[in-house]
């Protein structure tokens, strides 16, 4: 039971669908995930696999006309210290309850810090906005907390930074400010949506280090979304591999890298260069991700899978099966490979 208590966010059969004139677009199609306290869950997949939409579903900030279905159960501490469970999927996306959770319980770091900050408001203004909403009504105190958090993420001259505009900062500094903004209200879950993709490699390492440090010092859970398996290896405790809106493999990071089961995961791993595998050609996955609309029945990876068997893989939708404890795979041929 102790493990159960440590799960602070649980997603059950979460679906995000966009009702368009052309039909129903299933961006996220039945995702089950658990986020444990103080741990990092990595979500990896190609662009368009629904990993970003999954994170948006948590905050209920899915763009129109998306609809979130299923259960998203967040365990949060009430003011008196007792625990309560809220189903985020049932809340009104524009309502007060979800707004109290956004930024305070669950905060988010975005991919491109330049675009994620409003160019016409100062950094201070934008950091203090969240603090004023969730922590205090006092301007001076909010300012003090803002400076404090900027210092914590390693910004020089935090007071000066508070009155600067985003375009006056460098890319790495901006991402630090972004992280500061997300952490300003001490959230219990931090969602990092490709936080390093837009940064230089050297800065990337610093930012990743920063997120890891803050995670351990604040006991924050992190959902780390990326297409970069290298980053996943460095950051995550658990990993979910997503393909076409579904989780195809879900396990801890060691198992994933050493004993991958799903053909897609294997293909992904084979497509990254490694110093260990000498003189081996890199493999690419043939074809492209199908458009997630009006898909045929069967395994989503069928069209690109080398092992796919006609009459087996393309008949019924494939369930996610736990093959060993803590290792789930969505593949019918899992025993054969």
């Amino acid at each position: 039971m102790s493990q159960q208590e440590n799960v602070i966010l649980e997603m059950k059969d979460v679906k995000v669908q966009f009702r368009l004139d052309e039909g129903l677009l299933k961006a996220v199609d039945g995702v089950d995930l658990r986020i444990k306290r103080g741990k990092t869950l990595g979500i990896v997949g190609e662009s368009g696999c629904g990993k970003s939409v999954t994170s948006q579903a948590l905050l209920r900030i899915v763009p129109k006309p998306g609809e979130v279905q299923g259960e998203i159960r967040l365990t949060r501490k009430k003011k008196d210290g007792s625990l309560e469970v809220v189903d985020l999927a049932k809340l009104d996306a524009r309502g007060k309850e979800i707004r109290d959770i956004r930024g305070a319980e669950i905060a988010m770091i975005f991919q491109e810090p330049m675009k994620a900050f409003s160019p016409i408001h100062t950094i201070g203004n934008q950091i203090m906005e969240a603090i004023l909403l969730h922590t205090t009504d006092d301007q001076d105190e909010a300012y003090r907390i803002g400076v404090e958090i900027l210092k914590k993420v390693g910004m020089s001259n935090p007071e000066q930074r508070m009155s600067e505009y985003p375009h006056q900062l460098s890319g790495g500094m901006r991402q630090r400010a972004m992280i500061a903004m997300a952490l300003s209200c001490s959230p219990s879950i931090l969602i990092a949506d490709e936080p390093t993709t837009a940064l230089d490699v050297t800065v990337q390492a610093q930012v990743l280090q920063l997120i890891n440090d803050l995670k351990s010092s604040h006991d924050t859970s992190v959902i780390f979304i990326t297409h970069d398996l290298g980053v996943i290896a460095e950051m995550s405790d658990d990993v979910a591999v997503m393909y076409l809106g579904k989780v195809v493999e879900y396990t801890d990071v060691d198992t994933l890298f050493h004993h991958p089961k799903h053909p897609y995961t294997k293909a992904l791993l084979n497509s990254i260069p490694s110093v260990m595998r000498e003189s081996k050609r890199l493999e690419s996955i043939e074809g492209t991700v199908p458009f997630p609309m009006n898909l045929p029945k069967g395994c989503g990876f069928y069209t690109r899978c080398k092992l796919a068997k006609d009459g087996v893989c393309n008949v019924e939708d494939v369930p996610l099966v736990e093959v060993t404890a803590g290792h789930s795979v969505r593949c019918l041929l899992v025993d054969e490979v």
Binding site: L59, A116, I120, A130, L133, H134, M181
Partner: protein
């Protein structure tokens, strides 16, 4: 900020010189110069004009000199003495003809500008936040008509229908008893209701295009990342809308004043002719009919200068509210 303003002011000088040259050319365009017209007029009214008087006049206006010298005379006279030449149609200095009416033209144009903003911005915001709703389509359609159909046609049709329905002729800015009366509170009160129709008609086209621009720009901004960031912070939708996208969209909208203002003044001129308002429009038309070029030229000069100043003000306003322009660094 001061640097920016002085830089912009310096930029104005060549622009103003260019405008004045064009106006001077326009004045000189029609065959026969101003003096021949003037002398002809004097003769017609029975005055005897001697050769020496003609010579005197020629010297006074520098007509015996080259074009460039004439231009310098004209500019010097205007800048130093406020003398814009003589309207032979009204037989008065141009300045005396223009200024009283120009005030009304500027007033109506500015009120129209305010009207345009008050109407277009809220509608634009509504249309953007309720994209593809019924009202959005309605506004889009009205916008189309506003953009497509010129003010003078709308004025013509409106005047006709109001006359048919109510028997009231809504032309003119004042009731007959106030037309030549000095300015009093009663005159202003008499004028205000009569201003409503011209302001709507003049502002319609600009309002329509401003609605389109506001809507388009807001739709762009609404899907931007920083809006999602703010939403992810827990900011409520209403607050978020006004703090970020609207605030962002306002900047380019302010810069539209640069072309809205000349469009409004243009519209005012032609609509005032149809509605027979006591502004510069009908006067300009009369002046043009008789090729009273000093009057026309001065009118174009003054309205252009007003537009230029309006644009300058909007630029300064823009710099005041947009840090990227103020600090010279322009982001993405």
């Amino acid at each position: 900020m001061l640097n920016y303003i002085s830089y912009r002011l310096l930029q104005l000088i060549p622009l103003l010189v260019a405008i004045s040259i064009i106006v001077f050319v326009i004045i000189q365009l029609p065959p026969g110069d101003f003096l021949t017209n003037y002398i002809q007029q004097l003769k017609l009214s029975g005055n005897d004009v001697s050769e020496s008087a003609i010579l005197n006049l020629k010297q006074e206006y520098g007509l015996d000199k080259s074009m460039i010298v004439q231009y310098v005379y004209w500019i010097k006279d205007m800048v130093l003495h406020g003398n814009m030449g003589r309207s032979f149609q009204f037989n008065m200095p141009v300045a005396d003809v223009i200024w009283p009416r120009l005030g009304l033209t500027v007033a109506i144009s500015l009120i129209s500008l305010v009207f345009v903003w008050l109407v277009a911005i809220p509608i634009g915001i509504y249309s953007a936040t309720h994209q593809y709703s019924i009202l959005d389509y309605v506004f889009t359609f009205i916008g189309f008509i506003g953009v497509a159909v010129p003010g003078f046609l709308i004025a013509l049709v409106l005047v006709y229908f109001i006359f048919i329905e109510t028997g009231v002729s809504i032309t003119g800015l004042f009731s007959p008893e106030y037309v030549d009366a000095p300015w009093t509170l009663a005159k202003v009160l008499d004028m205000l209701p009569r201003m409503i129709l011209p302001v709507i008609v003049i502002g319609m086209a600009s309002a329509a295009s401003l609605i389109r621009i506001t809507r388009g720009m807001l739709l762009d901004e609404l899907s931007k990342q920083y809006v999602i960031t703010a939403r992810a912070k827990g900011v409520s939708e209403g607050r978020l809308l006004f703090k970020y996208p609207v605030r962002m969209a306002i900047n380019p909208l302010i810069s539209t004043i640069g072309w809205t203002l000349p469009a409004l003044i243009s519209g005012e001129v032609i609509v005032s002719i149809v509605l027979n308002l006591q502004t510069t429009g009908p006067m300009l038309l009369k002046a043009l009919m008789t090729q009273d070029m000093y009057l026309c030229g001065s009118f174009i000069l003054v309205t252009s200068v007003i537009t230029v100043l309006g644009t300058l003000l909007s630029d300064i306003l823009l710099a005041a509210i947009d840090p990227r322009i103020r600090f010279g660094g322009v982001g993405e």
